[in-house]
């Protein structure tokens, strides 16, 4: 479904990504791990078509992917560090607005369903400024999945969610995979991420250091690889 080969990104003379190979197929869930500054968020921003890589080939659904391909954007869902919802609008209005931009049919019905799925049904007509951080993140999750994307890209989605919200998010990710979609998420949640992912990838300094499938790699091996990446620096 998605395949990136030798992705590199330079900002001026700074190398942020130094040749990353990444691929997901239908039903797969790829977990990205590594210290801050490893390039996880940058990789996700390239995969979500926010910026072109300096070099390397990115293909989606069998065709080269470009930043200005609007049809392709409709098949991607992205949830970043910021919830990306408007504080002055109600939860419902936020979803309806995004639904309109994605040209969905039956927007109101879909928005209602999405809101009750993330447990915000009773609060749907309240202004988002009054939401707690966890509620905003739930709304952001509803927003990212509203148009039922084929590929879901999540940048540290567990952050700022309450425990119930985390379970909800995990269920959402699993159902996305069962539907035949793909998920790529970046996380600092070692145990939760290990259970969730169908493939694990540890990044450090813009490169992939270690990758394996949880079936063949016990959790302590994964933890050792991650500790190596975290401790390899100067800290």
């Amino acid at each position: 479904m998605l395949e990136g080969r030798q992705l590199r990104l330079f900002l001026g003379s700074r190398a942020i990504l130094r040749g990353v190979d990444v691929a997901v197929g239908p039903g797969e869930c790829l977990g990205l791990f590594g210290p801050n500054g490893a390039g996880k968020s940058t990789l996700l921003s390239i995969l979500s078509l926010q910026r072109e890589p300096t070099s390397g080939a990115l293909r989606m659904f069998g065709a080269p992917a470009h930043v200005d391909d609007l049809a392709l954007r409709r098949r991607l869902g992205y949830l970043g560090h910021e919830p990306g919802v408007f504080l002055g609008l109600t939860g419902m209005e936020n979803l309806v607005f995004y639904g309109r931009l994605y040209r969905l049919s039956g927007v109101a019905r879909r928005a209602e369903a999405a809101l009750s799925r993330v447990g915000l049904g009773p609060f749907r007509h309240e202004i988002v400024r009054n939401y707690s951080a966890g509620m905003r993140q739930r709304l952001a999750l509803a927003r990212a999945t509203l148009h039922q994307p084929d590929i879901l890209l999540l940048d540290e989605p567990h952050q700022s969610l309450d425990p119930a919200g985390r379970d909800l998010l995990d269920a959402e990710i699993r159902s996305q995979c069962q539907r035949g979609g793909a998920v790529i998420f970046a996380s600092h949640e070692v145990a939760r991420g290990y259970r969730l992912a169908t493939r694990l990838m540890v990044m450090r300094r813009g490169k992939v250091e270690w990758q394996a499938e949880p079936a063949s790699a016990p959790e302590d091996e994964f933890r050792r690889a991650l500790d190596g990446a975290l401790g390899g620096g100067v800290r």
């Binding site: 609007l70 910021e82 990306g84 931009l101």
Partner: protein
Amino acid sequence: MIRAAGWILWKDITLEFRGRELLVPAGVFGLLIAMLYGFAFDPAKNGLHGTFPGLLWLGIFFASFLAVGRAFSVEAEASQQLLLAPIDRGSLFLAKLALNILLTLVLAAVMTPAFAILLQTGLPPETGTFLLIEALGLVGFSAAGTAMGALAAQTRLRELLLPALLLPFTSPLLLGVVSATKALYGGEVAAAGNWIMLIAIFDVIFIVVPVLLFEFLTEV
């Protein structure tokens, strides 16, 4: 493209109605300018008819700065997600342009009568033509302001940079609107027509060129 722009505009107007974050501060500032001009120039003693067009337009431009500079910052809380939506980049520009035109028109509608009363000059004769000048002038100001606001919003200085980027561009526009208004006060409608042409040309340039170049700005 137009439909998406319409939805973004609808969202911005809803936000503005709820929060009044742009119009109220800018409007208060605009009225304050009128009052301070009144103190500084003493309109009762020295008639201000000669300088009124310049005072009025500078006042409107300065107050509009507050509103136009913020128009892109409204998006800051969700700009990333908005840019990820499958919409044409030009539609975002159009939506912001329409928002800025509406905001500056409302500001001018409040400020013009206030200036005319507080500076004791009254509105110019040929009020219809004067309204046309105001509308065209504010469309031009909003177009240039939207383009420069898009540039300034992505810099470290944000709105602080906007005056330095925008004011040199608006100098021909200021010349146009002030001269046209002056011509109306002097009863020279034909001369005003020539200035209105200049304003219209400015409007066209600053709507077309940014739409063409806006694509580049959102790429990085």
